[in-house]
């Protein structure tokens, strides 16, 4: 048996002249949780549907457990899928929805009952087996969707933005649930999302996509600490970006030549430096030097566990900073110095492919 559960080899797909997917190569080892992360229109859902077989790629191969399934119809691929819209059958009860894929597979009635009960227990819905989907909340419906997708032990579990239709409060709970269940059952999963926090929190590996290409593939830590370009850094939610020029391994802010000490840089020429708001420290002294930017407090907001500042630099740059409670507070208009923590400051190449 191969270690690789799923391999996508040079997948291409165009809708007319529009390239939806270009030369996608991706492998997913057994038991791994991989996210396809990207803004809408990046091709992540199309890629998911290439895996299920509902979209036939123009070129390339889909290989599952070493077998080429590119020509295999969807219903013979033994995939499990959780849908953004839940996609529960309205004419079937919760138990019958979950039993549906088992019925299709000719599983005996006794065995069906046992496995449906197991699946219901896993998603904590034992009490609702006889209800109909319309009688359930969104969160409960998605649990049914999850139970239905895992009850027949599919080769790969595909999740298409399963949390997008849920309330913010439910989303985190459901995310933890998905994480626990997939690990507990050692399921190989491919998860499509545009939410970087979901992808970071859930995944063993993330493929960041843009315009039909995988821009970066790596562990959440790798992608977060070393995004390959400014598109990804921005997408991951870095609050501050500074246009810089790199020469001899040293970055200077484009506008005023302030030297930035950063994590090691592997490129030269125009680039962008990114830093999180929480890594920007405020000091009262206005002395200059590397990583020190004299700023005016443009706005501040008390957020309960921290204070958020919007700072304006003389060159027109805007910075966001987060100060912990207990740090000195600065009023609007105050002249302060923003110190950028060198070990949290990353410099990345500018993405040449244009807006997503």
């Amino acid at each position: 048996m191969t270690e690789e559960r799923l391999a996508l080899e040079h997948i291409g797909k165009s809708w007319g002249r529009l390239a939806a997917l270009s030369d996608i190569c991706l492998t997913v080892p057994r038991g791994m949780f991989v996210s396809l992360l990207g803004p809408s229109g990046c091709g992540k859902t199309t890629l998911l549907r290439v895996i299920t077989g509902s979209v036939v790629p123009d070129g390339g191969r889909v290989v599952v457990d070493g077998l080429d399934v590119t020509g295999l119809p969807t219903y013979r691929r033994n995939m499990g899928m959780v849908f953004q819209s839940f996609a529960l059958f309205p004419h079937l009860s919760v138990a019958d929805n979950i039993a549906f894929p088992l019925t299709v597979r000719g599983v005996s009635r006794a065995e069906q009952q046992k496995r449906v009960a197991d699946a219901l227990r896993i998603v904590h819905l034992d009490a609702l087996a006889e209800r109909f989907p319309r009688e359930l909340s969104g969160g409960q419906q998605q649990r049914v969707g999850l139970a239905r997708a895992i009850v027949y032990q599919p080769t790969i579990l595909l999740l298409d933005e399963p949390l997008s239709n849920l309330d913010a409060s439910l989303r985190e709970e459901m995310r933890l649930e998905i994480s626990q269940i997939t690990r507990q059952l050692d399921i190989t999963a491919v998860y499509v999302t545009h939410d970087q926090r979901e992808a970071l929190a859930l995944s063993d590996a993330i493929a960041v996509m843009k315009l039909g290409r995988v821009v970066q593939f790596g562990t959440p830590e790798e992608i977060y600490s070393a995004p390959v370009n400014d598109f990804i850094a921005r997408f991951l939610g870095y609050a501050n970006e500074l246009p810089v020029v790199v020469a001899d391994g040293c970055a200077r802010i484009e506008a005023d030549n302030t030297v930035l000490e950063t994590v090691p840089i592997g490129l030269t020429g125009p680039a962008t430096a990114f830093i999180h708001a929480s890594a920007v420290v405020l000091e009262a002294s206005a002395s200059g030097g590397p990583n020190r930017l004299g700023c005016t407090v443009a706005d501040l907001a008390f957020m309960g566990d921290h204070v958020e500042y919007v700072l304006r630099h003389g060159t027109g740059l805007r910075l966001k900073a987060q100060a912990p409670i207990g740090a000195p507070m600065y009023p609007r208009g105050a002249e302060i110095c923003a110190v950028l923590a060198p070990d949290k400051l990353i410099v990345v190449a500018r993405d040449a492919t244009g807006p997503a």
Binding site: Y75, N78, F89, H91
Partner: protein, 269 residues
């Protein structure tokens, strides 16, 4: 808060509208069950079943009723057989000249029924289809199909393709998907189309009148014949019998499916 006059006005409007629609029905019932009812009386002086007895004695009511039901059932089956695939194609595929196609299907309902009936009668005389149940049913299909197609197209267009995709991913081949997912999801619309078809045939008079014969008298035609013979109350009694399935289906339909779904096709998606 609505003001009292506004409430009263609304109640009056609703009441008069309901009366406007139901009053003819009430009159028929009074006619069928009443006796000694002419001149200036508001209500009949006595209540009686005599007109029903009379109708049963002078007319072979059983045969007439069976003709009507048989033709309506044939119409329903034929209409569904034609309308199901046609509606599926219209709803789910990109067809050239789609609007012309729909126009052609609606055509028999857009022109005066008597005009249409004359044309049908011409053809039926030529090919000896008059006075046959199947012939009348075929003619009725023309009347039933437009409604059926409107309801079914709207049903099929409204099918959630994500549910079909879910079924496929879970292992349903095309045939199984149809039986296990598509059909159950579309069933309310299909039942509605069947009921409409049945009633379109069951209630039809003009078209039937042009192609019926001695062996294929239907309840609406018999009502008209009794009226022509001068037996107003007998016609009322037959009309009352005629009403029963219509009211029954109406109630069944309102219980089974949300009436707004039925109107989906008429609202134009």
């Amino acid at each position: 808060m609505r003001t009292l006059p506004a409430k009263l006005l609304r109640a009056a409007l609703v009441t008069s509208f309901v009366l406007f629609i139901t009053l003819p029905l009430v009159m028929i019932l009074l006619e069928a069950f009443g006796a000694d009812w002419f001149g200036m009386r508001m209500l009949p002086a006595q209540w009686t079943l005599r007109w029903f007895v009379w109708a049963a004695q002078t007319i072979d009511l059983g045969a007439v009723a069976w003709n009507t039901v048989e033709i309506a059932l044939m119409t329903t089956v034929l209409t569904l057989a034609a309308a199901l695939p046609a509606s599926w194609a219209i709803a789910r595929y990109r067809l050239p000249l789609k609007s012309i196609l729909i126009g052609a299907i609606l055509f028999p309902r857009m022109i005066p029924e008597i005009t249409f009936a004359l044309g049908v009668a011409r053809i039926f005389y030529a090919i000896h289809l008059t006075n046959t149940a199947i012939g009348i049913a075929l003619a009725h299909v023309m009347l039933a199909a437009p409604f059926a197609v409107l309801v079914l197209v709207s049903t099929f267009e409204g099918l959630d393709t994500r549910l079909l995709e879910a079924g496929t991913v879970m292992g349903c081949g095309p045939l199984r998907l149809f039986w296990r997912v598509t059909l159950p999801l579309a069933l309310p619309g299909i039942v509605a189309a069947a009921l409409f078809s049945f009633l379109a045939s069951y209630n039809d008079f003009v078209l039937t009148l042009m192609v019926y014969g001695a062996d294929t008298v239907t309840l609406p035609v018999q009502t008209y014949l009794s009226l022509g013979n001068g037996y107003l109350s007998v016609a009322g009694a037959i009309s009352t019998i005629l009403l029963v399935p219509s009211l029954f289906f109406l109630l069944a339909m309102l219980r089974m499916v949300n009436p707004e779904n039925l109107l989906g096709g008429l609202k134009g998606a």
